[in-house]
């Protein structure tokens, strides 16, 4: 009987005794710390950084990357990659731009743009899940196709007239909400950040609390095991690529609204920044690990670095070096920790 009791006790014991040791073992935690430290240091060293206007710009700029990084995280967790997000962003932006340019309502243009993004994601997913083409190849091809379609659609013109609903579009992407605070100045929140927060909450919830979320993690952890245990691997994969494209579509609509204009050069090279944000935020490129919150923090860190280099008068040419180093350090950190845990 004594043996039985001790067996049950040890089964009931939790692995992570206290939340502090759990917290410091999370890459997301350390990236958050880095972002906060960078923020504080900049607030003291630069007169411009902590101003209302600069913070407004920083948060808005990072929101576009962060929105897509959330979708990208789902793809990376499932063990894939999506290189077509920058091209989907411009395609979505061009669809809404051309539709409204033709005088149609924003209520028609937005669903159309998001619908096109979903279709692109579905094609990516079908090719990957059913035809078995590696994600890298499919989405690399789609990168080229989607951007080319945006050029065909607009005849490579710049579009800046958005018909009767133009003010609504500009408000959608360029608007803001003033959050009143006691004793302090009101905080001005750009509308893309609001969309980001909603998306963050929904995605974090879906990844943690729904079957869909568990299946995405299971596929990334061991696709064979997921198949054998009856997880609908193919359908889940398609849904993941559709979700990622959808986030790129949302970012496209918002970015056109903010810029008030769209050219076919929009979002060029953005896929790399987005992947960097996801990876810095703790997503593991070999699959099975990542969080929506991490993606947002990763995007924030990249934007803070970018902004600080500009404010500190360092040539913008150095940006790539800093962001690249952060990617390598973040992954290295993860490897070292994994090695420590195994020993």
């Amino acid at each position: 009987m004594a043996v039985n009791t001790s067996l049950e006790e040890s089964i009931a014991r939790r692995a992570h005794g206290n939340w502090l040791s759990w917290l410091v073992s999370q890459q997301t935690f350390w990236v958050s710390v880095a972002a906060v430290v960078a923020f504080v240091v900049l607030a003291f060293t630069s007169d411009v950084f902590a101003t209302q206007q600069n913070l407004f710009n920083v948060t808005r700029n990072f929101a576009f990357v962060a929105i897509i990084a959330i979708g990208m995280t789902a793809v990376i967790v499932s063990g894939g990659i999506d290189l077509s997000v920058g091209a989907v962003l411009v395609l979505s932006g061009m669809v809404i731009g051309m539709t409204m340019n033709a005088g149609l309502s924003i209520w028609l243009a937005v669903p159309l743009a998001l619908g096109v993004s979903l279709v692109v994601g579905a094609i990516n997913g079908l090719m990957i899940a059913y035809v078995g083409v590696p994600p890298f190849v499919v989405t690399l091809g789609m990168l080229s196709i989607a951007r080319s379609l945006a050029m065909v659609l607009s005849n490579n013109r710049m579009v800046y007239e958005f018909g009767p609903d133009q003010p609504k579009l500009l408000a959608l992407g360029g608007g803001f909400v003033d959050l009143p605070l006691p004793l302090l100045d009101a905080i001005r929140i750009p509308s893309p950040v609001l969309f980001l927060l909603v998306l963050l909450v929904l995605t974090a919830y879906a990844l943690r609390w729904t079957r869909w979320g568990r299946y995405v993690f299971a596929i990334g952890g061991n696709e064979g095991a997921a198949t054998l245990t009856g997880v609908p691997v193919k359908r889940i994969k398609i849904s993941v690529y559709m979700f990622c494209s959808f986030t790129a579509g949302i970012a496209g609509v918002l970015e056109v609204g903010w810029l008030g204009t769209i050219t076919t050069g929009l979002g060029q090279g953005m896929e790399l920044t987005v992947i960097a944000a996801a990876v810095i935020g703790g997503a593991n490129l070999s699959g099975g690990i990542g969080t929506a919150f991490g993606a947002v923090v990763g995007a924030a860190l990249i934007e803070v670095i970018r902004n600080s280099l500009t404010l500190l008068g360092i040539s913008t040419f150095w940006q790539g070096t800093f962001v690249g180093s952060f990617i390598i350090v973040a992954v290295l950190f993860d490897r070292l920790r994994a090695r420590g845990a195994n020993e």
Partner: protein, 247 residues
């Protein structure tokens, strides 16, 4: 007594490769069948056909006298067939409980607001591990587990439902001697519960310790099907290698 599962004339080819040729086999409740054969003899292919991973190229499966066709693993599960795979089919990045419930997670709440019921899944997994007398914590990640604990997770998975048949693919290949004894005891408990167990193994002593009947495959053909008492390790070795043609 009617067979729980009857395979008749099952064949399977992958392109030009004949993995299984006209294999017939019947499983009865409360019987442990040791399925033996060399690498590439067709053991895993046979398991995967019964598990619904792929359809046979020819032949039929009947359960309790009725013909069945499994198009996907869940079909076989619904019919009461549970598998413990050779590589255990575990996701390293998930907890023990999440692995046990993978593909049939428990939900609570109503309609579209239904969420995963982690509390019940952790509790239920803990009960299963206690039943298996395995010191495995439901919340631990499988990544950090020993071979025996991983085996316990894979076996606990089969105990979720009330299976009629449990297929075990090399369950004793990669675990310690003490844990082998535990797994063999578990197999005996499954038999006492009236479950038909198919034990696929390379390890002759394990098969002879627990099986009632022994089936040998060689190059996709069934070359022997007889009670363990009427055979011997020497004969089985001969059958596996081809030194003895058939028995």
């Amino acid at each position: 007594m009617a067979a729980v599962l009857e395979l008749s004339g099952i064949s399977k080819h992958f392109g030009a490769i004949q993995a299984l040729i006209e294999v017939s086999l019947s499983l009865h409740a409360g019987e442990v069948v040791g399925l033996m054969g060399d690498n590439g003899a067709g053991k895993s292919t046979l398991v995967k056909i019964v598990a619904g991973n792929y359809p046979p190229s020819g032949g039929t499966l009947t359960m309790g006298g009725r013909p069945v066709a499994f198009h996907k693993p869940t079909d076989a599960r619904v019919a009461g067939i549970e598998i413990v795979y050779q590589d255990l089919a575990l996701c390293d990045n998930l907890s023990a409980a999440e692995n046990v419930f993978l593909g049939r997670e428990l939900l609570r709440g109503v309609g579209p607001l239904r969420v995963l019921d982690y509390r019940t899944m952790f509790r239920r997994a803990g009960e299963l591990f206690a039943e298996l007398k395995s010191e495995t914590r439901p919340r631990d990640l499988v990544r950090r587990m020993s071979g025996g604990q991983r085996q316990a997770v894979a076996i606990a998975r089969t105990r979720l439902a009330e299976p009629k048949i449990v297929l075990m693919d090399e369950p004793t290949a990669a675990i310690s001697v003490r844990q082998v004894a535990e797994v063999l005891n578990l197999i005996r408990r499954l038999r006492e519960a009236g479950i038909a167990v198919v034990l696929i193994s390379h390890r002759m002593p394990d098969v002879f310790a627990v099986a009632d009947r022994i089936v040998v495959l060689r190059r996709g053909r069934k070359v022997a099907d007889k009670p363990v008492a009427a055979s011997s390790p020497e004969e089985v070795t001969g059958l596996i290698t081809g030194a003895i043609e058939a028995a």
